[in-house]
């Protein structure tokens, strides 16, 4: 019995420690982010940030687009098979448009980026820890947070919302293709209906969420990398942990935001 309590206590403390470390790192990153900005910061950090934007964003486009198209079809078809019974097939358009802009676009993008880039951050930084590159940075009077994390963080903040918009577009397009093939609805008319069914606040809610997701993915990935102690197998474990933890936190954050927007929307 005491053992159970001990384990529960230890687990709680280690989770609190983790959340605390995450917050400390986030705060340090925000302070160091100034050097990664385009005009007012260090030009090498900015270049590194741009390179990261290409890696996180542009390289992920095919995967995110494909995910969005598939999810668009899935949502449209599942929705259609139910709404058809009420003769309300037309509302598939609303479902897809609102579903993607408010929810699926940012969430799917975040899960894809978490798997791709969250693990990449953890692996890169973890390897740097093992090979003493982080120590080398410190003794060369560089701040690892500024040098390593800030460019990645800035890049994620830019790339993830952009990917979400791309994801929204492809998801809605997939819905349009479904509507075309099942009801002969022309695409221009479909898009007209889409635009009338979503409001600006749907899109902006989705973008706020994707900013939050970007913060989570970048911070968790980098923290797992910095926590690596030991050799290559520790690096491997850190990539798994980074993906699992960031996906979990993304979904929790999504629930929180959705709840907030739900109650705000009712007023």
């Amino acid at each position: 019995m005491a053992n159970l309590l001990e384990n529960a206590g230890r687990e709680t403390l280690s989770q609190l420690d983790y959340v605390g470390s995450l917050h400390i790192q986030l705060w340090a990153t925000l302070r160091g982010m100034r050097t990664a900005l385009p005009l007012v910061g260090n030009r090498y950090r900015w270049r590194a940030a741009v390179r990261q934007m290409l890696e996180i964003g542009v390289d992920a486009l095919p995967m995110v687009a494909l995910l969005a198209v598939c999810s668009g079809f899935i949502l449209a078809m599942q929705g259609a098979s139910e709404l058809r019974r009420f003769g309300a097939l037309h509302y598939v358009i609303d479902l897809v448009a609102v579903g993607f802009t408010r929810e699926l676009g940012p969430l799917l993008t975040a899960i894809a980026v978490s798997g791709r880039s969250g693990s990449a951050f953890a692996a890169e930084i973890g390897t740097m820890r093992v090979t003493e590159e982080i120590d080398a940075l410190k003794v060369m009077a560089f701040e690892p947070v500024e040098f390593v994390i800030a460019p990645k963080f800035l890049a994620a903040l830019v790339a993830v919302p952009c990917l979400s918009i791309v994801s929204n577009f492809f998801g809605i397009l997939a819905g349009g293709l479904f509507m075309f093939f099942s009801t002969r609805l022309s695409l221009p008319l479909y898009f007209h209906y889409v635009l009338s069914s979503i409001e600006l606040r749907d899109v902006s809610a989705g973008l706020i969420k994707s900013l939050a997701f970007a913060v989570i993915i970048a911070q968790v990935g980098c923290l797992e990398g910095f926590r690596v102690r030991g050799g290559p197998e520790a690096v491997g474990r850190s990539t798994t942990t980074a993906v699992v933890r960031s996906t979990f936190l993304v979904i929790v954050a999504d629930a929180v935001f959705t709840t907030i927007f739900y109650f705000v929307g009712k007023t």
Partner: protein, 266 residues
């Protein structure tokens, strides 16, 4: 006035005392060699001096600043005058060899790019890597990585050079050239060097003073002649490369007998 001063340094890992009340003074312009067996605490001492870890108690002063107690800004300032070459090179894998050496020059100085290129070429030439600047670290051999690390350590012309096993894994000629380089730097630029090494021939070629570490304590600190004349059994064993007689037939037989007896007793 010593440039590096270690006072009563105590370092513990998980309750185990790794460094036990160390005292050391390194004078400016001298080459101090840290000798010691594996696990004696050499790398730990190095990490403490570089400010990468905090001790349990004691202090380390570098150029008058206590690096165990100072602010981050003061530590950064002290680190600008130290050049470090790590044991495995620790070159940044995302940058070419040239960019590795140029990194501190580009970010900590206002030199023009053409001057930086020249300085980088000079530093690489001095370690024998003048033609290898454009390569990536993963394309270098182990020895070349270590030499590139030394070039990177020298980039800002530091007052203090810290080298962690610089000759390990290098062929004898290249190792000898590195030794000559260290002596040259000391004689021409009055660089202070702290070199951790196993290689006795290197140590006795370059050292002004030698400090031998064993189980977290200094067995002996002195000039080459004082070390050679030392009568301490451990020092003599280290210098004579005399093995501990673990792999000796009677000893192994005795151990086996003891093991079998302990199993029979259970």
């Amino acid at each position: 006035m010593p440039i590096i001063s270690v006072r009563d340094l105590v370092v513990e890992y998980d309750g185990r005392r790794v460094l036990d009340g160390l005292n050391l003074d390194i004078q400016p312009g001298e080459i101090m060699v840290l000798l010691g067996g594996s696990g004696s605490g050499k790398s730990t001492l190095l990490r403490q001096i570089l400010g990468l870890e905090q001790p349990k108690s004691g202090s380390i002063s570098i150029k008058g600043t206590d690096v165990t107690r100072c602010s981050q800004a003061e530590l950064t300032k002290v680190r600008r005058s130290i050049g470090v070459a790590f044991q495995s090179g620790a070159l940044f894998n995302s940058l070419s060899v040239e960019d590795n050496v140029a990194l501190t020059l580009r970010e900590h100085t206002a030199l023009a790019p053409s001057i930086i290129d020249l300085v980088v070429w000079m530093k690489l030439a001095v370690v024998g890597l003048a033609d290898f600047g454009k390569l990536q670290p993963r394309e270098l051999s182990g020895g070349m990585k270590k030499r590139a690390a030394v070039a990177r350590a020298l980039a800002l012309d530091p007052e203090i050079l810290v080298l962690d096993e610089p000759s390990a894994g290098l062929d004898p000629i290249v190792a000898a050239e590195l030794d000559e380089l260290i002596v040259f730097l000391k004689e021409t630029f009055q660089i202070t060097a702290l070199v951790v090494t196993h290689e006795l021939s290197s140590a006795f070629r370059i050292a002004d003073r030698i400090a031998m570490l064993f189980n977290g304590r200094f067995l002996a600190v002195g000039t080459k002649d004082e070390m050679r004349a030392s009568q301490h059994p451990r020092v003599r064993q280290f210098l004579n490369r005399a093995p501990d007689n673990q792999v000796h037939a009677p000893a192994v037989a005795a151990y086996l007998e003891q093991y079998v007896r302990s199993r029979e007793a259970n």
